[in-house]
């Protein structure tokens, strides 16, 4: 049940262009342990800018 809710939450967030912060942390820990990862807020703003900044933020009519 909590798995389903978590997945629904993740789906809703990705619908507005926010990927999983946990997945990002896991990626940074596994591949770039020497670099400090962005904070949750910085990550949110970075993704927000990427989605809506113009390039790539496409959606249909």
């Amino acid at each position: 049940m909590t798995g389903l809710l978590a997945r629904l939450r993740e789906t809703a967030r990705l619908m507005v262009g926010q990927p999983s912060y946990e997945a990002y942390l896991a990626h940074m820990a596994a591949h770039h342990p020497e670099r400090a990862p962005m904070s949750r807020t910085a990550f949110f703003r970075d993704r927000e800018q990427t989605r809506y900044g113009g390039k790539g933020g496409g959606r249909c009519c």
């Binding site: 990705l14 507005v16 997945a23 949110f44 927000e48 496409g58 009519c61």
Partner: protein
């Protein structure tokens, strides 16, 4: 053995389709259409999508996708396929699949139903799936780059010009729908206007109060929206505030142009992002609610299966069934715009090639289901109401008596009292000549939702809820589209003037934004002042352009199949390409060369030019200056159709040349990007 359930499903689909297609003269339940569509989609997914994946594309689950070999935790993230399905569906489904089918209902429910089902299975979903596949095998690159890689730089540039022109038309037609829905409707205008301060408050909340809390802020915003709808009624009835929110179409046009110009240069977190949360979640919620509502209510279809307008002469849009039905329903059956999405963020998130059929083919089937619901919505209304809402004022006059008489004359008996009562039920002063699809769908949604929740007393609330939901995501699209169009334009002008691409200087950005707004604003103004309602003119141009982009994407897919040495399966993309070329080239040709001035822009311009030369005024023009403007607009529209024809035909030449070249070589020549070719992040 495993096929038995699918055979049962096929029998159900065939029975339902037979009922939908053969019953005449008596009303059938809308569920027949829903069942026919749902069963057909499941079958198509189970057999055709898997066939394409296994034999045509030869998907390889062992091959790393860009999300795996380029993983960076940001743009490239291997994502659960159910989560990604939601992302992709939310990106492709917009106002298009809701509006086109409503307009197509003027020919009856049957032609639209058959085209949506057949079109999506054989063309629309194939296109989305193929473009997703091609991009996924090429590092998740965009459509323009893919065309450049496989068909050469000139073809790539032509495709970009085409995509920009389509963007402009889409923005204009979407804005026009908002104008038609909100004109002279203070209740609707107030609720939509209220979303601007509401979104700004949400933006401030996510910026400084609780950054990143999308769920929280969306719930707060949703409560605000409901309050805006509820208080909208009092505002509309107030003698002070009501007139302040009552605008003519021309005033609304200027408001929208100003809004587009300002909103697209504001920081994204302030207005665009928070409103996108609201519009996205509201859109998904409303679509789900509509599906549930239709199943619970199981309404009868009151529109006939076929109307006399299949031969042309329809009031909502001109032209006969072939080719114009196939461009009127674009999104929902096949939409070229999806090629831009399927080569956007989705291919960078796909975890395994095994997931591609669900995302590429499946999400498009889902959009077709939305289109079917819109068609059902339009068809459960009394046809008299449908035609009173969708015929131009030039045909109906403006008062209920003249409108009822005109619609009855068409063969759809309706009384003036019913028109007045329907308007009163939904809390509006008039429903006559509210073209554009959105108001019609809102009346249908009010009908369905009030049947499930609240009864007739709630109709007005649900009507404005539906208008708000459509206006909200159209405004988001106008804002986001203006930004995307600006970058496209900067790229294109940058080909000639490299300094124009600069992202450090503000000047090119401002110029490109202004050009973009001016471009769609021009077509919007033209549509708003068009006495035939504008939708009549703009929607076919939009449909032609969108289907041409689809044809271009399918040509790219065909070239890739030839380059992969999969010639024997190339019919999968060549058949839909051929059909789209036949429809769009003949529709574009008729818009240029038909003798009938209601169909052809050129014939219309000539008719008005000749009258002007004689010093005569033709209705609706009231002065020589208006005559001149109508003639000028006609030539602009004709020029646009000619441009689209030139773009698609020149790409056809490039595609044929690339296919012949690919056949001459013995080895596969597709430019796939291998994992080792790109350094991992």
């Amino acid at each position: 053995m495993k096929h038995i359930p699918w055979i049962v499903l096929a029998i159900i689909a065939a029975t339902a389709l037979f009922v939908v297609a053969s019953v005449r003269g008596e009303q059938i339940s809308a569920l027949w259409i829903v069942v026919a569509a749902a069963c057909s989609f499941l079958l198509a997914y189970r057999y055709y999508a898997l066939f394409i994946g296994r034999y045509v594309m030869r998907l390889d689950p062992a091959r790393p996708t860009p999300a795996v070999y380029r993983a960076d935790g940001l743009d490239y993230v291997a994502t659960d396929r159910r989560v990604l399905f939601g992302h992709h569906f939310a990106a492709i489904a917009g106002a298009g699949p809701l509006v086109g089918p409503v307009l197509a209902a003027q020919m009856g429910y049957l032609p639209g139903t058959l085209w949506i089902i057949g079109g999506v299975v054989l063309a629309g979903a194939v296109q989305d799936f193929m473009v997703l596949f091609i991009s996924m095998r090429r590092d998740g690159r965009s459509l323009g780059e893919l065309v450049r890689m496989e068909m050469g730089p000139v073809a790539g540039t032509i495709a970009l010009v085409g995509a920009f022109a389509i963007m402009v038309i889409i923005l204009a037609v979407l804005a026009l729908i908002v104008v038609r829905a909100l004109a002279e409707s203070p209740w609707g205008m107030f609720t939509v206007a209220a979303t601007v301060p509401l979104a700004i408050a949400m933006g401030i909340y996510t910026r400084w109060v609780r950054p990143g809390r999308i769920g929280e802020v969306s719930i707060l915003g949703f409560i605000g929206l409901i309050l805006a709808i509820v208080y909208g009624q009092s505002v509309a009835q107030s003698p002070v505030w009501g007139p302040l929110f009552t605008f003519t179409p021309v005033q609304l046009c200027w408001i929208l142009v100003g809004y587009g110009a300002v909103a697209s240069v504001l920081p994204v977190w302030l207005l665009l992002a928070p409103r996108d949360y609201l519009s996205t979640f509201l859109k998904i919620g409303a679509i789900l609610a509509l599906a549930v509502g239709i199943v619970i209510m199981a309404p009868p279809l009151r529109m006939p299966a076929l109307t006399q307008f299949i031969h042309g002469g329809g009031p909502a849009w001109s032209g006969a069934l072939f080719p114009f039905l196939f461009i009127t329903i674009a999104c929902g059956a096949v939409s070229g715009f999806h090629a831009l999405i399927a080569s956007g963020t989705t291919p960078k998130l796909i975890a395994s090639e095994r997931d591609a059929p669900l995302i590429g083919y499946g999400a498009m089937l889902m959009e077709a289901a939305v289109a079917i619901m819109a068609l059902v919505g339009a068809s459960i209304l009394d046809p008299g109401i449908y035609f009173a809402m969708n015929s131009p004022a030039a045909l109906l006059g403006t008062d209920p008596a003249s409108a009822a008489a005109a619609v009855t004359q068409m063969g759809f008996p309706v009384s003036p009292e019913l028109l007045v009562q329907t308007a009163k039920d939904v809390g509006e002063t008039s429903i006559i000549s509210r073209a554009g699809g959105a108001p019609t769908l809102a009346v249908a949604m009010a009908e369905i939702f009030s049947h499930v929740v609240g009864g007739p007393a709630m109709k007005a609330f649900w009507y404005h809820f539906a208008i708000l939901f459509e206006a909200l995501f159209i405004l988001t699209a106008v804002d986001a589209g203006t930004r995307a169009g600006r970058f496209m334009l900067q790229d294109l002008i940058g080909l000639a003037v490299p300094a124009f691409r600069s992202t450090t200087s503000h000047v090119p950005g401002v110029i490109a934004t202004a050009l973009c707004v001016a471009a769609w604003g021009f077509f919007l103004y033209q549509g708003v002042t068009d006495p035939l309602g504008g939708v009549n003119t703009l929607w076919p141009v939009f449909g032609i352009s969108n289907q041409m982009l689809a044809a271009m994407a399918l040509m790219l897919a065909t070239v890739v199949l030839f380059r992969m040495k999969q010639d024997r399966f190339a019919w999968v993309t060549m058949l839909p390409t051929a059909w789209l070329l036949i429809c769009t080239v003949s529709a574009g040709g008729l818009k240029l060369f038909a003798a009938d001035p209601t169909v052809s822009f050129v014939a219309h311009a000539r008719k008005f030019s000749e009258a002007a030369a004689r010093g005569e005024l033709l209705a609706p023009a009231k002065s020589m200056a208006e005559m001149e403007r109508i003639i000028f607009n006609d030539w602009v529209d004709a020029g646009l159709c000619a441009l689209f024809l030139a773009v698609v035909l020149s790409l056809l030449v490039f595609a044929v040349r690339s296919c012949i070249a690919a056949r001459r070589t013995d080895a596969p020549s597709a430019h796939e990007v291998r994992p080792g070719m790109v350094p991992a992040e």
